[in-house]
Symmetry: C4
Subunit: 249 residues, 4 copies
């Protein structure tokens, strides 16, 4: 009896509540990014030209906004896809997730640094901003990998019938981003601009559907999803778990 | 088998979860607008008159707050109405939605510019702010149009029995706002004030119910919604889909 | 047919979704209040005494934080109590609610003014801040009253069996706050401090349970809520609607 | 009749809605912490070295971010665990919860003070920041204790069959944090650094699973949670309430 009791230490925290809290943090962090753009104050003494110059200095912040918005979007999708398979929770898992959120909620700060430092003619500052930005993302990815590894090893928090090949593939693929961002850190010592280009190109890997994806989606959808006429909110409980290689991270 | 798997790449992201995340972004963006209003700092050395002058410079920010709050409100309603018909999701749709959110979450910045620049005696700055503001809204509308077009063409993510006339009407109507905002950009070169007036009048088109709307709503409601005595949360699953011309965007 | 269609113009916006969006705005506005407190920047050249002086100037902001947090809390409770009875939605109702949220989301700004202006030795500034603060609250209350009046008149959006005495009582009580805040505006011309004291005392009217309340709650609870052993999330659908006089606003 | 009516004064506020609003405040407060980190503005005239110096002054803010993120995370977990047992709500309970949220939403401010003051060579400022930080946490803990005490005494808002030993244990354990933070305030007079170390070590008490926990969790989980193949959202209604000593606060 005592044993059962203690094991339910986080009984109140179902995965439903964890994702609700996590979604809150994701959506706030992604929306706070806009605060890095600064509205120039117009003083009566200032000439319009000066104000426009100040406004022009905001375009790197705009680029950083777009980049960071897409990256947080990618993490949100990865997080949700993982929670599609994760059925239970425990204290350690809960804290891995909180550490992951700590990394995600931090992104607006390096995003601000990147906007301020990386598009100007000072290689030293550009490099520093890029290293901090990349380090934050590497850490976020490692927490995401840890979350998946912890939940799936020994089927700790997932169903017994999860495809072991799929679990291993995700584990392996989770290491792609840390490696790419490590390379971009190295690259920043040669050319901050090259590193920046890697930042902007890499997310496309997660966004653009693969060749196979494009052709198969319509066909298979018809099969797996018979017409539903109920006014469902889209919670389609008939989907038993996608096992495509791209679906996590 | 492989085919089915890959097509479920975003299986974990039901439309219910997408709207929850989107609602988060909409409600945060709309609430961040207030941060554009600046509380004057009272230094002991400053005269009360000076402080009040500083406070008076906030009224354009107040007007911009009201305008932008209403506009984000309109987008939120349009987004929700669309998701009333959208039953499924896929990777491309997910990213169109994230790009739409990127445009919506950006609104606090041009709203700040409009408040700072558009009500002062400097036509150049007023025009720049109006062009940026209108461009952001044009982009937001184009993403909203793309979202609807993508979801409905070939009944990709909607039910088969959706009224094709309704789908086409929404597609056509979605282009109203981009055209109006393009006109307001042109107008800003003649008179920034005229452009500003268009900004404030156009939202009324979405708010004020049409003549027909006013007369029909009470009659038809009685028919379609029999008294319900259950303590429902308002999720009225008996509504099978409004097809009025005004219901989207 | 056409009639039915048009009447469902906001079919996608169930009251459930409206409260979710509203809750988002309420919780963000209430949490943004803390941004009115400013952390003094410590420059190496500054003496610790100077920094502590700067910190001491934050206590009015602290008082404003507490006051405004409680007031937004009161509005949130009133809003939720109203939506307990409101079962349907339409376009006009939706926009009244968005205008209400516009008033609530604005509170952090007058809260900042009150913190900066109202506790210093400058009656003019104190009065201005109090008038703006009270006006914002009057407007918020009027929107809340309008929301209830619109939803209940002719049983437009509520059930037919709602107690008409209860509806009238709420309508009448909704006018208490606007009157009190109008009086506090008048009072601010005599003594800004007196007006401030009204601000801090009035919320107690909503918080402190009435004499009758205190005695009856335990007794009646036992009767109406039989023990439930299911792990419910607290959505107690057996409650058919409180009709106490205090329950709204 | 009249009695029943009045007792339902907060009928509209189920515990489900209270937790949703609370989760909103928790997730926003935790995400606002990042705003305490300041991106240095790069002026053309400034040397890169100067900018990097400014950036270096942010590491105490980073430490404060990590600490405060973990602490808000702990409160969120405690809050949710409590609401696992709390089945009903009333007016007084509602206001205790709003006061608790007021304390939680305030944390970003003392977190900012701690980051600015506590890692510099000015013991006076460090001590002041630590006292404010610790006082905020003591107050938060007292509200959390009050919430639990109020809900459980006389089984006011919990089920009749809750383990009385468990209730008492939580009541007693809830006093640990206030005592520790009181000690850290005393310690700050001897050595601000020592006090800071207590701040960083104490949360580990809530994070690190106890020896028994580690060994029992896998065993007992298998027993209590038979494999589920439904696509549940994780709301595991079969858990009837953990009674482990660690589960609250």
């Amino acid at each position: 009896m005592i044993r059962l009791r203690r094991s339910q230490a986080v009984a109140g925290l179902t995965t439903g509540r964890i994702t609700a809290f996590s979604d809150g943090v994701f959506s706030i962090a992604i929306t706070l990014l806009v605060l890095n753009l600064r509205v120039p104050t117009v003083l009566p003494s200032e000439s319009p030209g000066n104000v426009l110059d100040q406004l022009r200095t905001q375009w790197p912040n705009l680029l950083s906004y777009i980049l960071s918005f897409v990256i947080i979007g990618i993490y949100w999708i990865a997080h949700h896809n993982m929670f599609h398979y994760i059925k239970r929770s425990n204290r350690a898992f809960l804290w891995i997730n909180i550490l992951l959120l700590m990394c995600v909620a931090f992104i607006p700060f390096p995003a601000g640094l990147l906007g301020q430092f990386s598009f100007i003619e000072q290689p030293l500052l550009a490099r520093v901003a890029e290293i901090i930005y990349a380090s934050n993302l590497i850490l976020t990815n490692l927490m995401l990998s840890l979350l998946w590894w912890y939940a799936t090893s020994d089927h700790r928090l997932v169903d017994q019938d999860i495809d072991p090949h799929f679990v291993r593939t995700v584990n392996r693929r989770n290491m792609t981003a840390p490696v790419v961002y490590l390379v971009s850190i190295g690259l920043s010592f040669l050319s901050p601009l090259a590193s920046l280009i890697v930042f902007f190109l890499f997310p496309l890997y997660y966004i653009i559907p693969s060749h196979i994806d494009l052709h198969l989606t319509p066909t298979s959808r018809t099969k797996e999803e018979p017409k539903e006429h109920e006014d469902s909110t889209g919670e389609d409980s008939s989907i038993t778990g996608g096992e495509g290689e791209e679906d996590i991270s």
